[in-house]
């Protein structure tokens, strides 16, 4: 059968929803969008877009019907989208119960409100500077994550398809709970990168990713720093075994850069943690007795580093 699009336009008819979404992206705030469609009813419009008009059109002489839909862009579709998406994901997350610190915060705030004349502004001051720690932490994490998702969209990754990706929702919810338990910048960045990497990769192993998230939760920034150092440097593995000599060599090298690892016992604990999780393993076989330089980070360790590092 020869259809109009086959005969004249030579392409399949475009999907209206996609057309409108793209138009919302490329137009500035305050723009008008005119969509000419057939008589079929059309209601949906993307975030940041509002319908401000509908005009019926009669086509003469054959009396066909068309409809002109007029839209107005009032907000940035992209940012709105990321935030709404995060709100959607977060609505399923069970947040930790309020801590004693939160209760103290509420009590102190209530007490300050009771002070005549000073109470109102003082309470506002308290709320502004010493806001409920959990809420503040959550807001910051979500804001940074939204910016990261925006960057993904600019790299042509459609984050809206992630709505139905159960794996991704699981990762976000898990990471969100971990973020509330941590305040260190390095760990929060690792969590954000982990979420963004999960959004990019479709065929990754969910079990492995959840395990890595757990590592981020358990490890200190020092663990991440030592692992990164071991990954970017090679060491002399003479003799093919993990000896005290090698451990001390690494310790000396790292200590020369960062004096904070002055206590070798502290350093040994970090190394043991990394070894227990098979992220580093300097045990090598068939290694000659002479000098032999190699990395001590395992494949698992490299996967972990890639997972917590931005890769777009």
């Amino acid at each position: 059968m020869r259809t109009l699009q086959g005969l004249c336009i030579k392409t399949a008819l475009p999907i209206t929803r996609k057309l409108l979404k793209v138009a919302a992206r490329i137009c500035r705030i305050g723009s008008l969008l005119f969509l000419l469609l057939g008589p079929k009813n059309y209601q949906w419009c993307p975030y940041g877009i509002k319908r401000i008009g509908w005009v019926g059109i009669t086509i003469v002489p054959n009396n066909e019907l068309r409809a002109l839909h007029i839209f107005y862009k009032y907000a940035d579709h992209q940012l709105q989208n990321s935030r709404q998406f995060l709100c959607y994901v977060m609505s399923d997350i069970e947040l930790p119960k309020r801590t004693a610190k939160d209760l103290v915060h509420r009590t102190v705030k209530a007490g300050m409100s009771a002070i005549p004349f000073v109470g109102g502004p003082a309470a506002e001051f308290f709320d502004y500077f010493i806001r409920s720690p959990i809420l503040k932490r959550q807001d910051e994490f979500v804001s940074k994550l939204a910016l990261g998702l925006d960057r993904l969209q600019k790299n042509q990754i459609d984050i809206e398809i992630l709505h139905n990706n159960q794996k991704f929702v699981t990762i976000v919810s898990q990471a969100m709970v971990i973020s509330l338990r941590n305040h260190r910048k390095e760990k929060l960045e690792a969590l954000q990168n982990a979420i963004l990497n999960s959004a990019i990769s479709n065929d990754s192993d969910i079990d492995l990713e959840l395990m890595f998230l757990n590592y981020i939760d358990i490890f200190t920034p020092s663990h991440l720093e030592v692992l990164d150092y071991l990954n970017t440097n090679e060491f002399d593995l003479k003799g093919g075994s993990w000896s005290k000599y090698i451990n001390e060599k690494i310790y000396e090298a790292l200590n020369s850069i960062k004096p904070k690892y002055s206590d070798i016992n502290y350093f040994n604990v970090i190394m043991k943690d990394l070894m227990d999780r098979e992220l580093i393993n300097p045990m090598t076989r068939n290694v000659p007795e002479e000098t032999f330089y190699a990395t001590v980070v395992t494949n698992m360790g490299k996967k972990f580093i890639n997972y917590i590092t931005i890769s777009y």
Binding site: L20, C27, G56, V60
Partner: protein, 162 residues
């Protein structure tokens, strides 16, 4: 959504007819306001406002667009246009939009087909828009899928026609 710039009463008895000049936030255009003559609905100020119709002639098309007093943020209407073949815009369609909402140079025309864009040497009345079509035979400014537009940056156009 709109501001009344000038108003002139042209009829002495109901139905009153006003010739008004209204700034629709897009373009200064002349529209006609009708007050529906009914003593019942004119009894209160609210009803008076509700009974107002701001009518915009859809020139050069035949028909009218209208805004009501109680919902000034929505435009409705009906127009009649002579059609073109091959799925093209009807005659005077783009001219009607330019006339009512004002001419906008920075417009993108998605799935443009025969609409002439900036690449055409012989320009027409509506030739200032940036045209996109998936079919290179139509000679658009950009050959791309209108559902993706990966080569077009965000937030650069002031109007879009789809």
């Amino acid at each position: 959504m709109f501001n009344v710039i000038s108003c002139k009463k042209e009829a002495k008895y109901p139905p009153y007819r006003y010739q008004m000049s209204i700034d629709l936030s897009f373009q200064r255009t002349t529209i006609i306001e009708y007050l529906v003559p009914s003593s019942a609905i004119m009894s209160t100020e609210n009803n008076l406002r509700r009974s107002k119709y701001f009518i915009i002639p859809a020139y050069p098309a035949k028909g009218i667009l209208y805004i009501t007093g109680d919902n000034p943020e929505f435009i409705s209407g009906h127009v009649r246009l002579r059609g073109k073949d091959h799925g093209r815009y009807p005659y005077n369609y783009l001219e009607m939009i330019d006339n009512i909402f004002g001419k906008e140079e920075n417009t993108i025309e998605v799935c443009s087909h025969s609409v002439r864009g900036r690449n055409w040497s012989h320009r027409t009345k509506t030739s200032s828009c940036y045209t996109v079509d998936i079919n290179p035979e139509t000679r658009p400014d950009l050959v791309d899928d209108g559902q993706e537009l990966r080569l077009v940056s965000n937030n650069i156009f002031n109007r879009s026609a789809l």
